[in-house]
Amino acid sequence: MTDATLPAALRIAPLVEGDVSLGGLDDTVRTWSEKTPPRSWYIAITITSLVALGGFAAIGYMLYTGIGVLGNNLPVVWGFLIINFVFWVGIGHAGTLISVILYLFRQRWRNAISRIAEATTVFAFMCAMIFPAIHVGRPWLPYWLIPYPNQRGMWVNFRSPLIWDVFAVLTYFSVSLMFWYLGLIPDLATLRSTTKSRFKRVVFRLLSLGWVGNAWHWLQYEKAYLLLAGLTTVLALSVHSIVSMDFASSMVPGWHMTIFPPYFVVGAAFSGFAGVVLVFAFVRTAMHLEEYVTPRHMDLLNRMVLFLSCVMAYAYLMEGFTAWYSADPYVKYVFATYVFGGQWWAGWLTITLNCILPQLLWFPRLRRSVPIMVIVSAGVTLGMWMERYTIIVLSLKRDYLPSSWGGYLPTPVDWAILIGSVGFFLTMLLLFLRKLPVIAAWEVKPDIVYYQKQRTEAGHV
């Protein structure tokens, strides 16, 4: 429907398809929390939760025996656990960036996907926050990282990036959790007033805090939403910068890089968007959300992935250039090992999956083909994990004194914990999809009205 008689809004593919109505949207959203899910859902959650349990079993074994059961050693004192932490924090950035930054830029297309994106943020952070707690040598003491008054009169060391980390990560998690819940309130109110089951009605009644959506409330609500959006943007940018400072402010060759903060933020957004694409590639068709999450949405998401991939490529280049231009033999050597060292494949995997593979998305047809976008974003997710592996392990292996150079070999426990965290993430996601409104109905409804209006004006009803 691209003939010239149409109003501008309809000439490009609209953000909702088919003749959808406000009520129709509510019904779509509601059905998922009402009707019993398909068998496939049960199979999926069984698998994921078993994987998650495996992961937690491995963690239990590790806590009991000592972190010697991991591959960590000297000089490679940080291994999979820290990699996974950075990885999940990265994934966790999609939600905020999509629902917040795009909101500030008034990108209406983010409305349909923001809810699930925020959910991924929350769950990814749940995974991420496991790792700093369990990776310490005496895992019964990490609460010492929090500056609480104690009779020993001791405080934490505010110079340590790990303390910055504690503050950043905890803040980010609580804020994004709250942001997510805030967005849910009006939709929960809708569910409350439409659901059949009494139990659900009670629960939703409590969760929706008695929201009735009168004008004054909406006014405050939007104001708060705007403020949160602004603040959370700063937060999102600061958090991964701070995570990057764990490395950047150390003096390990390969870590000590001024480019790290922006480069980590972009990386986070990159892996985050890839993660969201991955989720929607399945959710969209599996949950019949085609009308609200249109090919155009996927197209736009993929454009973001493509854009960020190019920025990453630039970041890699600049990092390499810095290393070379610094004329610092130690750093130069480490960067050489990234791509020519014993584990050259790590470096090349990073570059291929993050910079080369996404170039496919230049072609509009590929941008809209589900298999391609799945391959690309899965590749990016893996690639970003490999990037963290390269930075953390390969740098530590080759630091200043050749006499202390070593190797790194992950153990089954390492793998179990990594895979288990993925299982945990998917389990949480599946539960969410099953029980809560997956689309921010109150945000999409105006769009529906808008497009309906356009249509009626254009006489296409």
């Binding site: 005496r138 504690v166 150390s250 004194l401 050749p402």
Partner: protein, 985 residues
């Protein structure tokens, strides 16, 4: 009579005992090697016991709880008697250093002696006599033995007494006593590590082993002689050698060391000129040098040695024959000629006798006798059996004439070469008695096994030289129901009707009063004895021997044999005692098993060292298994590709492959390869190497040996020194954002002279013993989790067929601007007011960020619970002044903070300032080369401050701005061409 365990009538059992004893005791010994995961599990969820205080009921005059005592004693290893000073806490030895009163050891001792602390507390020690495998009392044991001996005595049948070398006059006397009552007693002394004994001595008359005075040598030529490593008295050698390796400033000369050797030994790694040469070439080359000395420098040949004998050996001939660097050989000749009596030529015990003869010739020509080679007060060499003698002995035993065999300490079932021939023969002996510390290979074959005291539980005396007596006194009463070997023998003598006391201490004192104490001296014998025990040594005036005369006839024969010898071909194998396990007697000491071999850095096992060329030709890599076949015997060893190894040679070490305990399955026993047929025992020609299936990954503490052009260690030739003198650019202060730091009282610092350091690893064991550093076992070492706070890095510089080697002790640099400090989230590592980088174990939660951020990678982490699962009584070896770190805690060198605080407090109590030298960390105290100096950098006149200003001082990784408190001094090499230090008489 038995020495009861604790004989204090006034000590009653305290009313209640906490469960702590049970908590740590009765654990599998594995706890020591740290595979303690399962054990930690068994220890889980036990509430800690209530503390109980158990004071002395009557306090001994000389023990103050919490304050250490020091006892002088002596430890015998082979034919060396190490004078030691043992640190004891509350009547319990915990640390061993050298005896500072001892003229030879000057407060230093060997790594193996230090580690003997763990030997004392070894849980695998025998705790009571065994009669035919079952535990029994002493009476039961004597009831078996005494009649057997009596029967043998009556029947005039021979009885074998196999002991280590006897260098103790009183022990000899005791054996003589036994001989009186058992006429058929045949005493054989067996020291497997000594091989064919000191063969160079046999080329002189009288055939006594001299002391080598390295402190007088300006040119040293060592033919496969690892005098800084496993050969002879390395402690004294290092001390003397190091004196001429530390020029005070640019322009000063130093001694020059030529190492002509097959394997890369410690000595070779310190040498100025290293000439890789197969062992069979040693004799020809030495003769050629002698010839050149004669022809070019007109050195006289000894009477009876005709010049034409040297005709076949010309420098050019040997140089081309063995593909040697001719210029180096010329230089060697000239240097020797110039230094004459100030030179010293040595041949390693592994070399064939011809080489020793040639070297004896050189020493004779250079007139070193009486100067660098000092036999003035040498004792008559104790008779020690060679492997050939052991074969003969086996034949005798096999004849079945022997009524009984008494095997004391030595372990022939393990170390007698000849592939089990000795065992088979031993089986023919009707009655066998074993006196031993542990139930070992030999004990398994004996009818009666008697547990003997550890030397730290024993009395004895030794005569290292005729002007010196060295006393051994016990530090602690026997831990178990054991007796001292001499006492057991005396017991038998008494039982067989001899008129002696069976109290060895009384016997010892009696003999001293008779033989040593001179009547009419003002002091009473009591006082004389007490003083001797107190000092640990007794100097006596004995009249010097006349210089030895060289026995030309032997050298002539040797020269003839060598001249007839065929051209070298095939692989040659050189076997030597291991610097850690010696002949295997230390196999059960975890510290030594886990100590990285000083050059190869291999722990927990021995290897077959091959040259890169040979390995490349055979496509062998580190860890590949190779079967070494000599004649009928063969063993399978993992390969180590060793830079600097002479082509066509292979080297391996004795002492591994012991059975039982910690040693089980660690390394391979190569004694089967030792020649038992009169030919040189440790040198095997025509060796077959065949690749065996599989690999054995080596547990090495260092994996990368190349410097990658990084300025982390400085290896200078003397003229480079002259050029770079003055800490190069290091005097410019680095830019920093930090405010200047102030040190109110002290600023502790260290200076390490890499030129004096020979990399002997003495500091490592001292540190381990002082700081309760756990042993983690080969698996953990291979995983990169070794715990040594102080490691000795090795770097190869130059071509891999004959590289130069740099040793660098690496420990916490106590940086002023320590990178580890700001990154710790809980402030568990911070800086003290006196410049120490402190680690607070209790605050540490183990995020390991500090370790990641330490550019020196000297921090160590407890990945598992390595300590609390330790078996009783190993925990007694812990230093009570140092925290025992549990699982999950970061640790590192603290400059022995416990010693620093102690020194400061003592000074304060005595109301005086801390004097320079009051405080010495364990590593500095142990360093035989005095290469490590510790002190207060705030005092400009302290030794360390002066050294820190040295013109060859440098800081490792200075450019990072960490401002270390340790100054290293460049290692210097004295290559051909530079001046050689001149040493006055």
């Amino acid at each position: 009579m038995a020495e009861p365990r604790v004989t204090d009538a006034d000590l009653q059992r305290p009313p209640t005992l906490p469960v702590e004893g049970d908590l740590v005791s009765r654990r599998r010994f594995l706890g020591l090697v740290g595979a303690s995961a399962a054990l930690a599990a068994t220890a889980a969820c036990e509430a800690p016991p209530a503390d109980t205080i158990v004071p002395y009921t009557r306090k001994p005059d000389d023990v103050i709880p919490g304050v250490a005592n020091y006892y002088a004693s002596t430890y015998q290893e082979g034919v060396v008697a190490y004078g030691v000073l043992v640190k004891a806490r509350e009547g319990r030895p915990i640390h061993i250093d050298g005896n500072d009163e001892h003229p030879v050891f000057r407060g230093k001792t060997s790594i193996r002696t230090q580690a003997e602390i763990l030997g004392l507390y070894d849980p695998e020690r025998l705790r009571e006599p065994l009669v035919s495998g079952r535990s029994a009392g002493w009476d039961a044991a004597d009831a078996r033995i005494v009649p057997a001996l009596r029967a043998a005595a009556d029947a005039r049948k021979p009885v074998l007494l196999l002991t280590p070398a006897v260098i103790s006059p009183t022990r000899a006397a005791v054996i003589a006593e036994l001989q009186k009552v058992v006429p058929g007693l045949r005493h054989v002394a067996w020291e497997p590590a000594l091989g064919a004994g000191d063969q160079s001595a046999s080329c002189f008359d009288p055939a006594v082993s001299p002391a080598y005075r390295f402190e007088r040598a300006s040119v040293i030529a060592a033919f496969d002689a690892d005098f800084l490593g496993a050969m002879g008295n390395a402690v004294a050698a290092i001390g003397g050698f190091a004196q001429h390796r530390r020029p005070a400033g640019a322009g000063d000369a130093m001694s020059r060391l030529y190492a002509i050797e097959s394997g890369m030994s410690l000595t070779g790694s310190k040498s100025d000129v290293r000439i890789p040469l197969r062992p069979s070439g040693a004799a020809p080359v030495a003769f050629a040098v002698a010839g050149a000395l004669h022809t070019r420098h007109g050195r006289a040949l000894p009477a009876g040695f005709a010049a034409e004998l040297l005709a076949p050996f010309t420098l050019d001939a040997v140089a081309s024959r063995y593909r040697l660097d001719g210029r180096a050989l010329d230089a060697l000749v000239d240097d020797l000629a110039a230094a004459s009596k100030r030179s010293l030529v040595l041949a390693g015990p592994s070399l064939p006798p011809e080489a020793h003869a040639a070297v004896a010739l050189l020493n004779a020509m250079l007139g070193t006798e009486g100067f660098t080679v000092d036999a003035a007060f040498a004792v008559d060499s104790p008779s020690v059996a060679t492997p050939a003698d052991m074969t003969q002995l086996a034949r005798d035993l096999d004849a079945g004439t022997y009524a009984a065999a008494i095997i004391w300490d030595t372990n022939p079932s393990y170390d007698a070469s000849g592939g089990g021939a000795f065992d088979a023969a031993l089986a023919r002996v009707p009655f066998k008695v074993r006196l031993a510390l542990r139930a070992d290979e030999t004990a398994d074959r004996c009818d009666v096994v008697l547990p003997v005291n550890h030397w730290l539980e024993s009395w004895n005396d030794f005569e290292p030289s005729r002007d010196l007596l060295s006393l051994q006194q016990p530090l602690i009463r026997p831990l178990y129901d054991t007796r001292q070997g001499e006492e057991i023998l005396l017991g038998w003598v008494k039982a067989l009707g001899g008129r002696v006391t069976s109290d060895y201490r009384a016997y010892l004192m009696m003999r001293w009063e008779r033989a040593v104490y001179r009547k009419g001296t003002p002091a009473s014998f009591q006082k004389f004895w007490m003083t001797a025990v107190h000092d640990g040594v007794l100097r006596r005036d004995a009249e010097a021997r006349p210089p030895r005369t060289v026995r030309a006839d032997r050298i002539v024969d040797a020269a003839r044999r060598v001249a007839r010898a065929a051209d070298p071909s095939g692989m040659e194998l050189l076997i030597a005692p291991d610097i850690r396990l010696w002949d295997g007697r230390y196999a059960n000491i975890g510290w030594l098993q886990e100590l990285p071999e000083p050059v190869t850095k291999v722990t927990w096992g021995n290897v077959l060292a091959l040259s890169p060329a040979d390995a490349g030709r055979r496509r062998l890599n580190d860890g590949d298994l190779v079967t070494v076949t000599v004649g009928a015997r063969s063993v399978t060893l993992p390969v180590l590709v060793q830079p600097g190894q002479a082509e066509g040679t292979a080297c391996t070490a004795l002492g591994f492959g012991r059975a039982g305990g910690v040693a089980e399955g660690q390394g391979v026993n190569v004694f089967p390869l030792v020649a038992a047929d009169g030919s040189p025992p440790f040198w095997r020609a025509a060796v077959q190497l065949t690749r065996a299936a599989g690999r054995r990954p080596l547990a090495r503490s260092q994996l990368e040996f190349s410097l990658h052009d990084r300025d982390v260690v400085r290896l200078w030739s003397l003229d480079e020194y002259a050029r770079n003198a003055g800490p190069v650019g290091d005097d410019q202060p680095l830019a920093t954002l930090n405010p200047p730091q102030d040190w109110p009282e002290h600023k502790w610092g260290m200076a390490i002279d890499l030129s004096a350091c020979v990399g002997c690893a003495g500091c490592q064991i001292a540190c381990q013993s002082e700081n309760n550093i756990p042993v983690v076992g080969p698996e953990q070492v291979a995983r990169g989790r070794i715990m040594h706070w102080l490691r000795n890095d090795v770097y190869y510089v130059g071509a891999e067929d004959n590289p130069q080697v740099a040793h660098e002790p690496m420990l916490c640099q106590q940086c002023d601007d320590a990178p580890c400090e700001p990154v710790c989230p809980v402030a568990a590592t911070v800086h003290s007011e006196d410049g120490l980088n402190e680690q607070m174990y209790n605050r540490c939660i183990g995020v390991r960020y500090c370790a990641a951020n330490c550019p020196y990678m000297v921090r160590r982490f407890n990945f598992f619970d390595y300590t609390s699962t330790m078996t009783d009584p190993l925990d007694l070896a812990f230093n009570p002044e140092v925290t025992v770190r549990p699982r999950g805690v970061m640790e590192k060198c603290t400059f022995c903070v416990q010693r620093i605080r102690n020194g400061v407090q003592v000074a304060r109590d005595e109301g005086r300032p801390v004097a320079d030298g009051d405080i010495t960390p364990a590593c500095a105290a142990a360093c035989p080369a005095d290469a490590i100096v510790f002190g207060d950098l705030k005092d400009p006149n302290s030794r360390v401050s002066k050294l820190a200003r040295s013109d060859r001082g440098f800081k490792v990784l200075r450019e990072l701005g960490t401002r270390p408190a340790i100054t290293y001094m460049a290692e210097l090499k004295n290559p051909v061409g530079a001046a050689v230090e001149r040493i006055d008489d």
